[in-house]
Amino acid sequence: MSERRATVLHVDLDAFFVSMELLRRPELRGLPVVVAGGLGNRGVVSTASYEARRFGVRSAIPVSQARRLCPAAIFLETDFAYYSLASKAFHAILRDFTPVVEPAGADEAYLDVAGSEALFGSPETIAQAIRRRVRAEIGINASVGVSINKLVSKVASDAGKPDGLVVVPAGAEAAFLAPRPIRDLPMVGKKTADVLSGLGIHTIGDIARTPESALVARFGSHGAELRARALGIFDAPVLAGRGEAKSISRETTFDVDEPDGDRLRAVLRGQAERVATDLARHGKAGRTVTLKLRFPPFETISRSVTTGVAVELAGDLHAAAVTLFDRAWAEHDRRPVRLLGVGVSNLQERARQLRLGETLEADRLQDAVAELRDRFGDAAVRRGAEIRPQE
C-alpha cells in the first residue's frame, strides 16, 4: 500500500463483564459494581464499573484491596458462560463488515476495513454501524478507535471510552498521541514509566521529542521502538485469527447430497485454495492434511495424512486431499456425500523448502489470490470447475 489511510479499527466493549451483569440486573445501574474471579480474599478483580473506577478499583487488583478502596461496591462473581455468548455475537457482528478481524480478547478486536468501504461506507461510518449494532443486538456499549494502525487505534478507542468514537486521520498520529500521558502508550508498563518520569518525560510527545540515541542509551533497542511508537509508527498488520489457530479448515454442506466425484474433487480444490489463503494470511504451513466426509444422515468420517515437508500451497493441499478422498470414498461405495471438508493442522511457520530448479511463481500466484480474497471475500476468485453449471 503506497498511501496510508485510516482504515484500522479497534473495537472495545466498555467494561464488558460489568456491562453484561448490568444488563440482567438493571437495578444496579449507576452503582459501583465490581466483577471478580472469586469473591474471597484471594479473588482478583476482572472488571469494575466506571463508578467503581472512580474509587481507584481497577482490573487485576485483589478483591480484598477493592473492598478497602470502595466498601460500598457490589461484588459479583464472573460468569464466563454468560459472557461468552455475548462475545461470540460481538465477533460475529465484526465479521459481517470484513473478514479481516483480529480478535484481541473476548471483548476487543482489530479490523481492517480497507476492502469494505465500497459496501459499507467510510471507516467512520462502519465504526458507527458497529457501535449501533452492538448496542441493538447485545445491549451494551462499544468504543471504537480509527486510525492507520493498530497501535494508534487502540489508544484512540481508550481515549473515547466510555461509549465513544475517536477517528485519528492519517498523518495526525503523532499530534494525537503527543499530549497523552506515557502510560497510555501500550508498550509502556510501570517500570518503563517510572524510568521515563525520572528523565522528566511525562507525555507521549515528550518521548517523541527525546533524541532516539538518548532512549537507546537507556533502553537499548527497545528505546528506538518506543520512540517510533510515540510517533504513531507501527507496522504489524491486522491478522485475522492471530494466535488462535491450531488448524485451518473449510467445509461445505451440500443442499442436495452430491453423487459426482469430479464435482466433489472440484469442491475440494476450492476449499484447498481457501485453506491455503488462510495459511498464507497467518504466515503458516501445516504438516497434517485432514479430509472430512459426511454421508447422510450423519455418518461422518475423517482421514489424515502427515507429510514430511509442511504443506502451504493449494495444489499440494488439494493433491493430498484428493488422495485421501479417493480412498475414503471408495471404501464407502462412492455414496452421495452430504458434507465435504479439508483442513490442515500441525501448523508451523510458513516456510517452504524450495526444490532444485524451482521458481516462486506458484507462491506469487497464491499470494495474489489471497490478497484479492482478503479484500473482496472468498468468492471473489474461484476455479471454473467449482461453479455448478446452473449457478
Binding site: 504451513a285 523448502q353 532444485l356
Partner: protein, 381 residues
C-alpha cells in the same frame, strides 16, 4: 564341510558381510550368511538382493562344503568366543553347523546353501581403478545428498560418469546437489555413466575405511551391475536404471554475494542454531553483512521457535558483493558443513535461489573438486 579358522578372522569376516544381510525380507534365507569353502579359503557371503558382499578368510580346509546360518546368531556368538581356533563342521545333509572353540561346543540350525540367492559374478566389462583415500573422500562428500525416499528411484543413487581420467560423482535429492571429482590413476578402457545406489557406496566407503586397499570397480557390459573388489572383499550392487537429471544447469555460474568463513566456526554456530530450529520448522537464517572501514564482514546465524525462544550467533566473514540473507533447512546446512574443513565459500544471488558451497584454499581460491548446492527455504523475514 570341515574347516578350521581363527576366531578373529571369522569375526571380522562376519562383520564385513553382515552389512549386506537383509533386515526385513520376504525371503528368509537372506537373513543368513553363506559359509563355503573356496579355493583353499573360507568364503562368507550375504545379500539383500540389492547388494551382496563376499569376504574370504584364511582357513585350514579338511573337507569342502557349504551351508547357510542365521547371520545375527553366528555373528553374536563368534564375537563372544576366545581368540583361538574355531572348527566348523557341517554334515553331508547341510542342515546343521557344529562349532567348536576351546571347550565350547555348539550347534546352529542351517539352511541349504543351494537355496541361497546366487551372487552375481562380473568377469568382463569396464574396469576402473581407485585410490582408496580419494574414493572415500568423494563418497563421503556426495552420498548424503541422495534421496532417501524412492519416489524418484534415480535420485536414490549416485551418478558416476567418467571423462578421461576424471570421474565425477553427483547426488541430488531434489533439494540439494553434491558434485565431487576424482582424478583416476589411469583412464578406463571406455567411458562409463552409471547410477550406483547411494547405500552401496556408503557400505563401500566403510569397507574401504577398514581395508584401505586400492579398489577396482567393474561394470558389466549390460550396465546392470557393478562390482567393487578389494583384496579379500567384494561387493556387487544392482545399478539403478534411468536417466539422471542434467544437474550442471543447477549450479549457478554467477553470484551476487560471496561469503568466506571458517568452517569450524560456521559449524559450531549452525549446531547451536539447530537446537532452536528443531522446535520450529528447522530453519536456520543466515545474514551476510560486508565489512567496512577495515572492519571484517559478518555472518549472522540465527534460529527461532515459536513459544520456545531464539538464538543468534555472529562470526567474522569476508563478504564480497552486497549484504544479503538466506534461510536453509538446518539439516541440509549441517550436512554440507560436516564434510568440509578449513574455509568454505558460500555464494548466492537471492533468498529464493541456490546457495552454493565450495571449499576454498587459504588464498580464497575455490577448490575445483567439489561443489554443493542447497536450495533455500522460502520464509517470511
Amino acid at each position: 564341510m570341515k574347516v578350521q579358522v581363527l576366531q578373529e578372522n571369522l569375526q571380522r569376516g562376519l562383520s564385513i558381510v553382515g552389512r549386506a544381510v537383509a533386515t526385513r525380507s520376504t525371503l528368509p534365507i537372506t537373513a543368513n550368511v553363506l559359509v563355503s569353502t573356496d579355493r583353499g579359503r573360507l568364503k562368507l557371503a550375504a545379500t539383500d538382493l540389492d547388494i551382496s558382499i563376499c569376504a574370504w578368510i584364511g582357513a585350514k580346509i579338511d573337507e569342502e562344503g557349504a551351508t547357510t546360518v542365521p547371520s545375527r546368531l553366528i555373528s553374536d556368538f563368534v564375537a563372544q568366543l576366545p581368540p583361538t581356533t574355531v572348527s566348523l563342521e557341517v554334515p553331508q545333509n547341510g542342515r546343521q553347523m557344529r562349532l567348536e572353540c576351546a571347550r565350547n561346543d555348539s550347534t546352529i540350525n542351517a539352511m541349504d546353501a543351494e537355496d541361497f540367492p546366487r551372487i552375481p559374478e562380473i568377469r568382463d566389462g569396464v574396469t576402473i581403478q581407485f585410490d582408496p583415500k580419494a574414493l572415500r573422500r568423494a563418497i563421503e562428500r556426495v552420498e548424503f545428498a541422495a534421496a532417501t525416499d524412492d519416489s524418484r528411484p534415480v535420485l536414490t543413487g549416485v551418478h558416476l560418469k567418467t571423462d578421461g581420467t576424471r570421474l565425477t560423482m553427483a547426488a541430488a535429492d531434489g533439494f540439494r546437489l553434491a558434485v565431487a571429482d576424482i582424478t583416476l590413476p589411469e583412464s578406463p578402457s571406455e567411458s562409463i555413466e552409471v547410477i550406483v545406489p547411494a547405500r552401496a557406496l556408503r557400505e563401500l566407503s566403510r569397507l574401504v575405511g577398514e581395508t584401505n586397499e586400492p579398489v577396482e570397480m567393474r561394470v558389466n557390459p549390460q550396465r546392470t551391475q557393478v562390482l567393487f573388489a578389494m583384496t579379500d572383499v567384494e561387493m556387487v550392487a544392482q545399478l539403478i536404471q534411468g536417466t539422471f537429471p542434467n544437474y550442471n544447469q543447477l549450479i549457478p555460474a554467477e553470484y551476487g554475494t560471496k561469503v568466506l568463513v571458517n568452517v569450524d566456526e560456521f559449524k559450531r554456530e549452525a549446531r547451536i542454531a539447530a537446537i532452536f530450529a528443531r522446535d520450529g520448522s528447522g530453519i536456520i537464517r543466515l545474514q551476510m553483512a560486508p565489512g567496512d572501514a577495515g572492519m571484517p564482514g559478518q555472518l549472522t546465524i540465527s534460529a527461532r521457535a515459536d513459544e520456545i525462544g531464539d538464538n543468534e550467533g555472529k562470526i567474522d566473514a569476508k563478504v564480497e558483493g552486497e549484504g544479503s540473507k538466506i534461510a536453509f533447512n538446518s539439516r541440509y546446512l549441517q550436512d554440507v558443513l560436516n564434510v568440509l574443513t578449513g574455509t568454505v565459500a558460500l555464494e548466492m544471488t537471492s533468498p529464493s535461489s541456490q546457495g552454493v558451497f565450495r571449499p576454498v584454499d587459504e588464498n580464497g581460491v575455490s577448490e575445483p573438486g567439489y561443489v554443493h548446492v542447497v536450495m533455500p527455504m522460502f520464509v517470511q523475514w
